[in-house]
Symmetry: C2
Subunit: 592 residues, 2 copies
């Protein structure tokens, strides 16, 4: 069976020991004292494990149903969502002006992880609502803000994002949904949207769809797309609920995973919509919330990898099978728990070293984002933008692999649905696809983020790393087992980067060919940097005479494992990147 306890000691370490949250000179950070974060995280973890976790497995089994044109969520979801709403867990990082609690993303991201670990399907209803909230907050006029934001903050109403159509996903320029003006503020929306997460349900009284559509007569392609607010039920001027809008649920998709989140086909049949932001700038408007949403997807993967890790760890301690080598160099006479076997141990160490390093990276990125937005620190914001596709793409790729690894530790039981490991794999798989496939993340990284501001963001990262390595005085052990490997890996990064920059301008395909490998290279390297920081911090504490408990000791071992086993992959990836597109693109399509 799966098991989950929120890793509170870990969050405490990252927030306070590593990133010194409450000492950051960022608006709202002084409140993030260890006492405060400990209290609120403990409460959040309690809600998640007591309310969301118990209906996770049954939600997967039952799925959503479409009855009389409306979606019914699995048993217990309505109550659970209500509890979360009542507890005030929906608007943690929302603007207090609209009822939110104004907490930094650095903290709300942790809740995102805990909630996703406990019940990702239920969390997605909330996450998309937050996306709609952020978009209206950034681009809505005052009437729109006052009408929708308070309800979205509390999740009395939920939100959706309507981008994809049957013939177009990534290439939004091809969308066909039409928006015909019927008054100064109203449009008639007509068309079909697919893959709409949380597209319909019985958890809230209204659903606010944000819909990309084309106003006839506008420019071709992405430049002619606008964004509209299309409520399921129209809202009267006094805020009360009006008539049902002209949209219907075509079907619920039967998916590999996240069964308890309704992924809908939505048909708009002249539904009333309200322009959000500028006409013909719908794509930019919608992309406002993309950085944050993509960060959130990386965290979802991490969250499921954490559950897979905890569950397989317990299984590996309880499952007794096969003799193992003892400390005296002889094999045991009786079978031992499988955690004693090196191959199982390796699976556990791969999980542990990835998860802890990746968690540090997501929190660091959130901190950069908070710094960027709350303190207008452009460099930090730029670096967060650079790291966002890495977090979304690399963490969801490896996070998925790690759920597969956790499932593997269970042997045959991992394949049986009852044990829950299969659900983790199936639920995790979507993160590599939605909010832009990981291939698209790689193109965003190499084709856009690397070059924006003349490469300032990657140079800033390089500067932070080299300064760190230069300024720290560490023991020979840390130097040899951490600093040296990171310096070697930095050479791989620089070599790959040089190839991309030298070749990408004259032949974009040479750079695009290595995009996914570069995204992985950067992910591995950045997590390596996190391990260097984590272990340096522990060693600093040791030097200062602080008590080094088992938790902190484990950080050193886990970090060493990462540096010796995962980080060297950057050399292999650099080799692949430098192979470019010459062979890659030389087959004719009919030769495949």
């Amino acid at each position: 069976m799966t098991t989950y306890q929120a890793p509170l000691e870990e969050f405490h370490f990252l927030l306070h020991e590593l990133f010194h949250a409450s000492e950051q000179e960022i608006e709202g950070f002084s409140e993030l004292t260890p006492e405060f974060t400990s209290e609120i995280l403990t409460m959040g973890a309690k809600v998640a494990t007591e309310i969301m976790l118990p209906i996770n497995r049954s939600g997967d089994e039952e799925g959503c149903k479409l009855e009389n044109g409306s979606v019914i969520t699995p048993k217990g979801f309505v109550n659970a969502f209500d509890e979360i709403r009542k507890g005030g867990w929906t608007g943690l990082d929302c603007d207090p002006l609209y009822g939110g609690q104004g907490l930094p993303i650095t903290l709300s991201l942790i809740f995102g992880e805990i909630f996703s670990s406990c019940n990702i399907s239920l969390t997605i209803y909330k996450a998309l609502t937050h996306g709609a909230y952020a978009t209206i907050l950034a681009h809505g006029n005052s009437i729109q803000k006052n009408t929708y934001l308070p309800k979205l903050v509390t999740c009395e109403w939920t939100g959706t994002m309507n981008l994809t159509e049957p013939h177009c996903g990534t290439d939004l320029g091809m969308i066909k949904t039409k928006a015909e003006p019927i008054s100064k503020v109203e449009y008639k929306i007509t068309g079909q949207k697919i893959f709409i997460s949380s597209g319909d349900h019985d958890l809230a009284e209204n659903i606010i769809h944000l819909v990309l559509a084309k106003v006839p007569g506008g420019p071709n392609g992405v430049k002619g797309i606008s964004l509209f607010i299309v409520p399921k039920f129209l809202v009267n001027d006094d805020g009360s609920m009006g008539k049902k809008n002209d949209l219907s649920i075509g079907s619920i998709e039967k998916k590999m995973g996240i069964h308890a989140n309704a992924t809908c086909v939505l048909n708009y049949d002249g539904a009333i919509g309200y322009l959000l932001g500028e006409k013909h700038k719908g794509v930019q408007t919608m992309f406002t919330m993309m950085n944050e949403a993509r960060l959130g997807v990386g965290v979802q993967s991490l969250a499921l990898a954490e559950v897979a890790y905890q569950s397989s760890l317990i299984y590996s301690k309880e499952r007794v099978q096969g003799k193992s080598l003892e400390r005296d160099g002889k094999f045991s006479t009786s079978p031992k728990p499988i955690i004693c076997h090196p191959d199982v141990r390796k699976n556990l160490m791969n999980q542990k070293s990835f998860i802890e390093g990746a968690r540090a990276l997501t929190l660091w990125t959130a901190l950069l984002l908070d710094k960027g937005t709350r303190s207008s620190d452009k460099k930090s914001y730029g670096l967060a933008s650079l790291l966002t596709p890495v977090i979304k793409g690399y963490i969801s790729d490896i996070g998925f692999d790690m759920t597969v690894v956790g499932q593997q530790i269970f042997g045959g039981h991992g394949y049986i649905e009852e044990w829950g490991m299969s659900q983790l794999v199936r639920d995790s798989r979507i993160a590599m696809i939605y909010e832009g496939t990981n291939g698209v993340q790689a193109i965003d990284l190499v084709g856009r983020k690397l070059n924006s501001d003349g490469g300032a963001n990657i140079m800033y990262l390089r500067e932070l790393v080299t300064t760190y390595l230069h300024q720290s005085t560490v023991s020979e052990e840390i130097e040899n087992e951490f600093f040296v490997p990171l310096k070697n890996s930095l050479k791989d990064l620089e070599s790959a980067l040089k190839f991309l920059l030298d070749n990408g301008i004259k032949n974009p395909n040479a750079a695009l060919a290595g995009a996914s490998d570069f995204l992985h290279l950067l992910g591995i390297f950045c997590i390596g940097f996190m391990w260097v920081k984590i272990v340096s911090r522990v060693s600093e504490k040791k030097k200062a005479g602080d008590k080094i408990n088992k938790f902190l000791e484990a950080k050193i071992v886990t970090g060493k494992y990462y540096m010796a086993n995962t980080l060297p992959k950057t050399m292999f990836l650099a080799t692949k990147i430098e192979a470019g597109d010459k062979i890659l693109m030389s087959l004719e399509p009919d030769q495949f």
Copy 2:
């Protein structure tokens, strides 16, 4: 939607151009002329695609049902199995003495691939029957052979393997099922077995269970286990069906995939069983068929990767999305099929270069096995044994990854069950687990196969490779792009091997720590060797003035891609292997 056409041109190339099947001096190979194999493979492919493929998706959706103590397979399975039986497709490589066709494994393995591509759940009913057939053939007495083999060859009766119990899988020494003697030949079998593939169904009139159990008073551990034939219905002396044996179906497991194959809990309540082979030697008896079965599992993964590849290839040609770089160095003005995008192309090349190389490796191993068994060539048999865990473990690990890659090319559609890509991923996942998890394969390779006969098998492989590289005169292009990379990779292999041999004796954990990485290293290297052979063959034909069609040209490009993009990974893996167990084993269980 998924799509499949048997890759007949590929099979022809491997059998006749690469391995010169009909010229091999092995019993039965002279019949494998191009005309014969082409005819029989075409017929087999027709049966598979017309009878098995159409019920693959519906079989997944419907699954098996347990009704009144018996398993009902999905709609169409009874008829399809009957057609396969009537067509004579069940006994291809079985002994003609018992009604088989006596074909070499080299050929029957190809049918295994085609059938698994079309419907893996249905194929497993047949595959396990073959396992039971092989075990009884090798160890049965003449009465047992005459009673069971003719029926198993035709699949009028099917077979199962009963090893696992709730508390033990890999560690068979722990089994509790009891076998109490009641006469000279009869035993009473009592106990519970789980994860029994094809455990019950309505496809055949009888099911012959091969059950591991302990005769009271025997030695402890694996040395006290015996193997029994336990028919679902007892067989009268005249061969007619007798009374139902005392065994029942506890439940059908709800699994991640292969829904149409019933995985059962079987309860033996004093069922009559007949000792097969020697008492207390049941594990050895059952392992007789393991090499072949494990080879078969690797082929199943390959088969599903092939379908994922073909399906995603077609999708990539039909799905139009995003502008791409044209031959003139400018981006197209309109969206293009996604096969034009380097990232998608890379996914396709990864699939293609793995599948074609892995297929060559499985066929080569089957050829070695045929040589070993039909011509008593010990060296070939030993090398086939060495390669078997590699085929099972490496091909199922990467084969699974490649179904995930294929699913990824479909974007959001890949996550929707209706499109079939999710099923490929879910079905493929089991191959990494059953017939011994891939971790167990790695231990078998490093702990047993590497050392058997004093390392003769790995030395034989090394000799074959170096002789090949030494004796061939090739163009500078082939030398630089194929021979040089393979020589480099051989150094990685040798370096890792040296570490394992130097350290493994004094500390087995140092070797076991790198077992899975070594299995991958050897897999990557052997497929690299296959590409060297394939491309050398094409280049030989070129030199001889033969027509080089698009298919053969593609081999050169695909091989180059493999050598530049996949093969260099052996260096990374060698680095990991040489890290040993020092860090790996140093955390205490409570530090995880």
